[in-house]
Symmetry: C2
Subunit: 374 residues, 2 copies
């Protein structure tokens, strides 16, 4: 097993930490944001572009790749890295979230969960053992345990039942992994209940994983609740292992959660919002379809050195977007990923130089207009 | 006026010729294929990628840009080259073809043609003078005269009426162009009638243009008819000026028409077919969605040095295409444009070295399977 994590520097004022994850496909400086490449592609971009934007690791969705083209196909072709021409680290989720959010006919039984494909309606059974097998066949660098993403709102009873199921599945994932296999992370559920989250941490750390994720966040709860859950759960996790908050989030979320000691994030926000015309800037966001940009010769963000801002006006980006040109999605995605990668890099630099508190104040002082074109 | 054309070499066995067009934005080696960037974007690709693929000149559609974002917007932002970040030559069509193929409510009057926008139903009048003004505002390097694309089939009477209209419009385009303005090409119509085509050439050359195009081809007529019309019309055109066959064509069409002395082509085939999953190879075409490619680890074409073939298997391209991933359209387009650019480059090299006849025989000997997966 060539997976390891080291903490390089700790913030004095906050719980933020600078770290380094080593994987069979290279290292990841943390805190790290992981763009989502659901179907073995970060939508519209090549691996070379991702690397050039500062992307260190991408997430691929086990559920999608299992259904199409099939993990067997990818395994036969030499694994996911080779299949998609991305030689750096890949984290795969367990498919659990997608089973509960995308598929139909979910039936949980002793062995796992039966569901119908959202593509062709075919029936499938995912078990903890199967999910590990799929991720190992894909050749993932960081595998995630099968879990049930507790919905919001959920009663204490529902949250507890769901938590115990996820703990049992996590144990079975750990038991079924190959010796000397890829890293495997546990996912802490427990809804919005402090004691259940603590129970989750305790049970998972007893089993023992290479890192720990907080799941079941950003599922509709108020922002403050999300941050509260993270604030009381993160300190319970082993301090020497990576801490990963799944499915989060906005630039503000990232800053707050890094401050609380989070090392890893994934979210579709920079890529999906780009395809919807929402672009991230220092002061907030702008929506490129707004009429005010019709003949605006400025770049998305003055001074931004990304490819999009170096060469194109808001007017051209608006034109491409209104005309549904494929290049629109690509240029918008380049800018948004660059924005997220730069935010993470600046946070890492601030932690390294002992000025993360100052960074946070500066960051918020610039967020003057969360949607500058509203 | 900085537009000029020189003939560098002539094929002894055929009418093929190697030439060089000089424009305010650089030169174009001919015979040249012009990829189509309808809405100020060659779909899915950046200008840097186009240049890297060997693209020398692109075509933008006057009709589309007039309607969206408006030539006034593009003019205000410094012209089309700056707007779309393409510093090399741009040819613009006149919009005539799109008025007749895309818009509704076409009414031809003395002054021009009234039509309804395919985008929002708004009414517009395009006149020869307006079409020149739009193209000059865009900053086109090579402008085309407004013409009526005679449909197929058309009677002799219909074809003649249409031809005379196009001749009148061409005269008005020539008269309305700015002194020292961009190059302006006339478009020869005349349906499939030899004497009408000859009448078109005679009338247009009397007016005098910087180059001459054959219009009204590839509009549904049999392949042999298209080649016959080109064969009897091309020799009538001034031999020292560029000859452009519009809207053509397949690799075979390009080889035949170069052989007949054509210098320029434009066609949506490499880009549109790429987005439909049809990829061009030495022996013919393959359709990437076919099930036989599900776990095919070969590139689209063995030995092809394009970015797509260097890094991706047919299996991955099929997966992206089936999953409707944006990267699919891009990787397919890269391969197809590279194929067309390479075909043109090989033809230019063959003409230069006095072996175009040999090239043609080799080309056809390789076309063993026009759709290798049928």
């Amino acid at each position: 097993m060539t997976f390891s994590f080291e903490i390089v520097h700790k913030s004095a004022e906050t719980s933020a930490r600078l770290g380094m994850i080593h994987t069979p496909h290279g290292y990841i400086e943390t805190p790290a944001f992981i763009p989502v490449g659901t179907q073995a592609s970060v939508k519209s971009l090549t691996p070379e572009e991702l690397f050039g934007l500062g992307v260190q690791v991408i997430l691929a969705n086990t559920y999608h790749l299992y259904l199409r083209p099939g993990h067997d196909v990818i395994g036969k072709l030499g694994g996911l890295h080779r299949f998609m021409h991305w030689g750096r680290p890949i984290l795969t989720d367990s498919g659990g979230y997608q089973v509960f959010s995308l598929s139909k006919l979910r039936e949980i039984c002793d062995s796992g969960v039966t569901f119908q494909s959202h593509i062709d309606g075919s029936r499938h059974l995912l078990t903890p053992e199967k999910v590990v097998e799929i991720q190992e066949t894909l050749g993932s660098d960081i595998m995630m345990c099968l879990d049930e993403c507790t919905p919001y709102p959920a009663t204490r009873t529902e949250s507890q039942r769901s938590l115990e199921l996820s703990i049992d599945w996590a144990r079975r994932c750990k038991e079924s992994r190959s010796p000397e296999g890829s890293a495997l992370f546990g996912i802490v559920q427990g809804g919005m209940f402090e004691d259940l989250r603590a129970r989750g941490v305790s049970a998972l750390t007893n089993i023992g994983f290479d890192g720990y994720a907080l799941g079941g966040l950003s599922v509709g709860e108020p922002k403050k609740v999300m941050l509260d859950v993270a604030a009381f759960t993160l300190p319970l996790l082993p301090s020497l292992l990576p801490r990963y908050v799944m499915g989060v989030g906005t630039p503000e979320d990232l800053v707050e959660l890094v401050s609380l000691g989070t090392d890893m994030f994934d979210c579709v926000m920079p890529t999906r919002n780009a395809r919807n015309g929402q672009l991230f800037v220092r002061t907030g966001t702008l929506n490129i379809c707004n009429a005010q940009y019709r003949d605006d010769e400025l770049p998305v963000e003055a001074g931004c050195p990304c490819y999009t801002c170096r060469h194109y006006s808001r007017a051209y980006l608006r034109h491409l977007f209104m005309a549904k040109e494929l290049l629109a999605y690509r240029l918008n995605t380049i800018h948004n990923i660059y924005f997220f990668m730069t935010l993470m890099r600046k946070m890492r630099e601030a932690i390294r130089h002992g000025r993360f508190g100052l960074f946070k104040r500066d960051f918020y002082s610039q967020r003057t207009n969360l949607s500058i074109d509203d």
